[in-house]
């Protein structure tokens, strides 16, 4: 078989994490860190603004002037000035006579041709590093690449939220039972890890319990709209449907119970390479060597993989071998496959494209 570069979706207990933190695509801003700078979880790496509504004020018409030069003489503001609603934009400096007031609070975006454009300002976005590490690349106006050591679990879907809080695994007592315990639930202000699919009821209870975030294997796509309006981030690790969390990944979260996690539930956009993920700073112990990202990783026997799609979706296994010939699947397709051993000595042929190397 020729070389195959597989999909990678890390589920690593200890890895070198290269995390790109950037402002939303529609925001403009400034980066507040420099290369090689050490940052902590809550440090702001960039500040930005999503453009607001632009309000055009026709000063020339307001003052019934003939030329734009006459408007220039009356201007009381210049570009980039911040103005409050009803602050004068133009008029006599003395305060006498006719004056033109700003209709909105905002920033003067443009002055010229007899027009004053005021941009209404949205709230400033403070972009936090999300983990303790070192800045390895500054992305001008957008954010930074941060390198750190720790646990990294990538998901496939998020509702766009982001939180930094401690991990609480659901355990034996389902989250639904917490709703009768109105105060002081262990789920309050924590990122909850579920091993089972999200339901409508779970979303509601999680909101009522004031959780900081929700990590789950799957949910029905019918719940997307509901997940979007929750005040906490939701990340799915396997996808849409009714897949359960694999015990190996669940164990990683179990081992990290009570530790601080950054949950960045990035909502996947069609042409955006960012993925939702949960990252935790963990220091190596003894002889542990954190795994480094491997851009040129090729699929080989012995690799740990996740099977995606089909009857074994979400199961982890290891590659046994890579046959040279196309394999006839039960559905009639003939495709390049790997022989994968799942738990319990079960072996299956899985299409190469349906394997994700987990680290």
């Amino acid at each position: 078989m020729s070389i195959f570069y597989p999909e990678q979706r890390p589920a690593h207990k200890l890895a070198v994490i290269q995390r790109e933190v950037t402002l939303p695509v529609d925001a403009s801003g400034v980066v507040t860190v420099i290369n090689d700078q050490r940052v902590d979880v809550r440090d702001v790496v960039a500040r930005g603004l999503v453009p607001g509504k632009f309000v055009v004020v026709d000063a020339k018409a307001f003052f019934k002037l003939k030329t734009t030069a006459e408007v220039d003489e009356l201007l009381l503001v210049s570009v980039d000035d911040e103005v409050d609603e009803l602050k004068p934009l133009a008029g006599q400096n003395s305060g006498r006579g006719k004056r033109l007031f700003s209709p909105v609070t905002g920033r003067v975006a443009s002055v010229g041709d007899g027009l004053i454009v005021v941009e209404q300002l949205n709230a400033v976005i403070d972009l936090e590093a999300g983990l303790r590490g070192r800045v390895t690349e500054v992305k001008a106006g957008r954010g930074a690449l941060i390198e750190a050591t720790g646990t990294q679990i990538q998901g496939v879907w998020g509702n766009g939220g982001r939180a930094i809080a401690v991990i609480a695994n659901e355990g034996q007592n389902p989250i639904e039972s917490a709703k009768v315990d109105m105060m002081g639930s262990r789920f309050s202000s924590a990122v909850i890890v579920l091993r089972r699919p999200v339901t409508e009821e779970i979303l509601e209870v999680a909101a009522s319990q004031n959780v900081a975030g929700l990590i789950a294997p799957s949910m029905s796509v019918d719940l997307v709209e509901l997940a979007h309006i929750q005040p906490y981030p939701v990340m799915l690790i396997e996808g849409f449907g009714e897949m359960r969390l694999n015990r190996a990944v669940a164990q990683v979260f179990q081992d990290l119970e009570g530790m601080q996690v950054t949950l960045d539930a990035v909502q996947p956009e069609v042409w955006d390479a960012r993925r939702p993920e949960a990252v935790m700073n963990v220091q190596p112990k003894g002889s542990d060597v954190p795994a480094r990202p491997s851009p040129n990783l090729t699929l080989r026997a012995g690799m740990a993989v996740r099977v995606v799609g089909g009857d074994y979706s979400g199961q982890l296994g290891s590659v046994v071998n890579l046959p040279n010939e196309l394999v006839l699947l039960d559905n009639g397709l003939r495709v390049p496959c790997a022989l994968v051993e799942l738990g319990g000595d079960q072996q299956i042929y899985a299409p190469l494209t349906n394997l994700e190397v987990i680290g």
């Binding site: 509601e204 209870v205 009714e242 190996a248 390479a273 012995g302 039960d330 494209t353």
Partner: protein, 622 residues
């Protein structure tokens, strides 16, 4: 004079080597790898390096310098290639904002000019758009265009309305962050070209094209399209993921792959005086070119695909259109979950029977939309059909590919079928202008995989009753006779390069082939052979899942020669649609301060597959 062509799709990066063998251009090498615009690389040039290494392995030739640059022209030791071209269909399409005077005149011409490249029209401004100055300014600033396409006015016509629109555009673009300012293409009243350059001086880069509507009667979009190609290349340089480096590596920059479909279908139609259809349903975009001897209609949809854009495909066609192609009962949630997962993991292929039918239902539905958008109707005829893209070609069985092609557009009549598993169409389109002899020779030398010829009967057939009687005559062979029954496909062995004369008689009322009851045609063979399709057209009209469960697996078995994969009886039981989250239970906007339960009963446990009991360390240690 060798040609190295690399095409960057949403999922695959393909490299082709075309060279002269005994003085004739042929496809001599091919390699494919995953496109590397995703985690952890996010740089398409990494995929370029990989695919060229794979091509080196198969061709025995080296294509790059030690610094990774492509060697061009070819060196005496046969390393490198004389011509290196790059095409792309992958990644986010160009975001275009169209500015014109009248929606039915100049704006319509602008949209036509935009239709042969990967463009999403994010906003349209015109005199009748109902917006004031401020509304237009905000529309521009919140559309985040990569290109602004300004049209309007006939040559020498009224200037004032165009100048007013230019004024708002200049102010709007001056407010955009300099790093994000779009390229402006002006293709309006030629007399205003210099005014446009002056207006945007210091604000945005301007490309001037010929007027798309020089007068009220004529339309001219070729010059504007040339400028759009330049803008596409500039956008490629800006959009990240290594496209800037890629654009600098190829002398002609990064060209849109879609151009090839239009060019090649048009060329074949002209040279053979035939009707040729070229169809590619990709992960993120779909292309359909319908070429006649005189002109070519085409459609590029950047919102329809079976991977990245599976979700928007489903939004466009609706659940019932997908169910129409399923031989089993499926809930709305199942279809939606599958589609959403495809969008999340576009390269994943169906690995069980249920997923396979869902996948091919998406493919057939996408092709249906494309067909309708070019006015093909639901049982079109063509002399040749070319199938591009992995969705058609990665079945591992040419018969399956042929079946998908026939079903996708519901082809009727007599059609030669070709598949393009190598992405040859994009490559040939990219060199058509500079190396036309290569295009002609590669196509003549069988660059496409010849699947065979399909004879498809139209009309409503009676199941298992004779619908076609065909006699096949080949020089040096006895005449063979075949009878095809309604609802069946029969494949006759007729190899690549073989030709045969057919006498076709249509049996049964209301049926025809190419509008006739009896006809004689010459057909060519292929890897599949002669396909006698007695299923009737339109396909699967007014059928139930139970009927489709009988028909669809049989058709696959008949055309592939594989065993029939029956649909389990339990798949045909009626299903209850899961309840959608009710309006009343949705939080208006749940605040973190709100506490307390909803009073609803606990959900019942959902039966789900138990995943394996194995630790990550166990797995990593093999």
């Amino acid at each position: 004079m060798s040609i190295l062509a690399v095409d960057f799709g949403s999922v695959h990066t393909r490299a082709l080597l075309i060279d002269q063998v005994n003085g004739v251009y042929q496809l001599v090498g091919f390699a494919r790898t995953r496109t590397t615009d995703d985690f952890p690389v996010q740089n398409v040039t990494v995929g370029l390096g990989r695919v060229l290494n794979l091509l080196s392995d198969t061709s025995g030739r080296n294509f790059t310098n030690p610094d990774g640059r492509v060697i061009s022209p070819e060196l005496p030791d046969r390393s490198g290639a004389d011509t290196f071209v790059v095409t792309a269909s992958g990644g986010r399409p160009l975001r275009a904002l169209v500015v014109g005077l009248m929606p039915s005149i100049s704006v319509a011409s602008a949209l036509k000019a935009l239709s042969n490249t990967y463009v999403t029209v994010v906003e349209t401004l015109h005199l009748a758009d109902g917006r004031d100055f401020e509304g237009r300014l905000n529309a521009v600033l919140h559309a985040y265009p990569d290109v602004v396409f300004i049209v309007g006015g006939t040559d020498g016509g009224a200037a004032t309305p165009v100048l007013e629109l230019l004024h708002v555009m200049r102010l709007s673009l001056s407010l955009v962050d300099r790093r994000r300012r779009p390229t402006v293409i002006y293709a309006g009243n030629a007399a205003l070209g210099q005014d446009v350059i002056t207006q945007f001086e210091g604000v945005a880069e301007v490309l001037i094209a010929e007027n798309v509507r020089p007068d009220m009667k004529n339309e001219s979009v070729s010059s504007a399209r040339a400028m759009l190609s330049r803008a596409f290349n500039r956008y490629a340089e800006r959009r990240g993921y290594g496209f800037a480096e890629l654009a600098s590596l190829a002398p002609s920059g990064v060209m849109p792959s879609a151009r090839g479909y239009v060019t090649i279908a048009g060329y074949l139609a002209q040279s053979k005086r035939e009707r040729v259809i070229a169809l590619d349903v990709g992960s993120g975009a779909s292309i359909l070119a319908v070429a006649h001897s005189r002109d070519t209609d085409f459609s590029i949809r950047t919102d329809l695909g079976v991977g990245h854009n599976a979700q928007s495909l489903l939004d466009a066609v609706g659940i019932d259109e997908i169910r129409h192609w399923l031989p089993f009962e499926a809930t709305r949630s199942e279809v939606r979950n599958y589609t959403a997962n495809k969008a999340l993991r576009p390269s994943v292929i169906p690995s069980n029977l249920r997923e396979l039918y869902l996948e091919h239902a998406l493919l057939r539905a996408a092709a249906g939309v494309m067909g309708r958008s070019t006015g093909l109707g639901n049982a079109p005829e063509a002399d040749a059909l070319i199938l591009g893209g992995a969705a058609f070609n990665d079945t591992g069985n040419s018969g399956y590919t042929a079946l998908l092609g026939l079903d996708a557009l519901g082809m009727s009549g007599v059609t030669r079928l070709y598949s393009d598993p190598y992405g040859l169409t994009a490559a040939l389109g990219a060199v058509a202008a500079s190396r036309s002899e290569a295009v002609v020779q590669v196509l003549d030398e069988g660059g496409y995989a010849e699947l065979g010829t399909a004879v498809c009967v139209s009309g409503r057939v009676r199941p298992d009753k004779p619908v076609l009687r065909v006699s096949l005559e080949q020089p040096g062979h006895p005449i063979r006779e075949f009878t095809v029954n309604g609802g069946h496909i029969q494949v006759i062995s007729l190899g690549i390069g073989e030709r045969a004369k057919l006498k076709i008689r249509v049996l049964g009322g209301g049926l025809e082939v190419k509008g006739k009851r009896s006809l004689k045609v010459e057909v060519m063979g292929g890897v599949v052979g002669l396909i006698l399709d007695g299923r009737g057209r339109p396909l699967l009209q007014h059928t139930t899942p139970t009927q489709r469960a009988d028909l669809m697996p049989r058709w696959v078995a008949e055309i592939t020669g594989d065993e029939k994969r029956n649909i389990p009886a339990e798949w045909l039981k009626a299903l209850n649609e899961p309840k959608l989250p009710s309006e009343s239970s949705r939080p208006k906007k749940v605040s973190r301060r709100q506490r307390g339960g909803s009073g609803r009963s606990k959900s019942e446990a959902v039966p789900v597959a138990e995943p394996s009991d194995v630790s990550l360390d166990d797995l990593r240690n093999g």
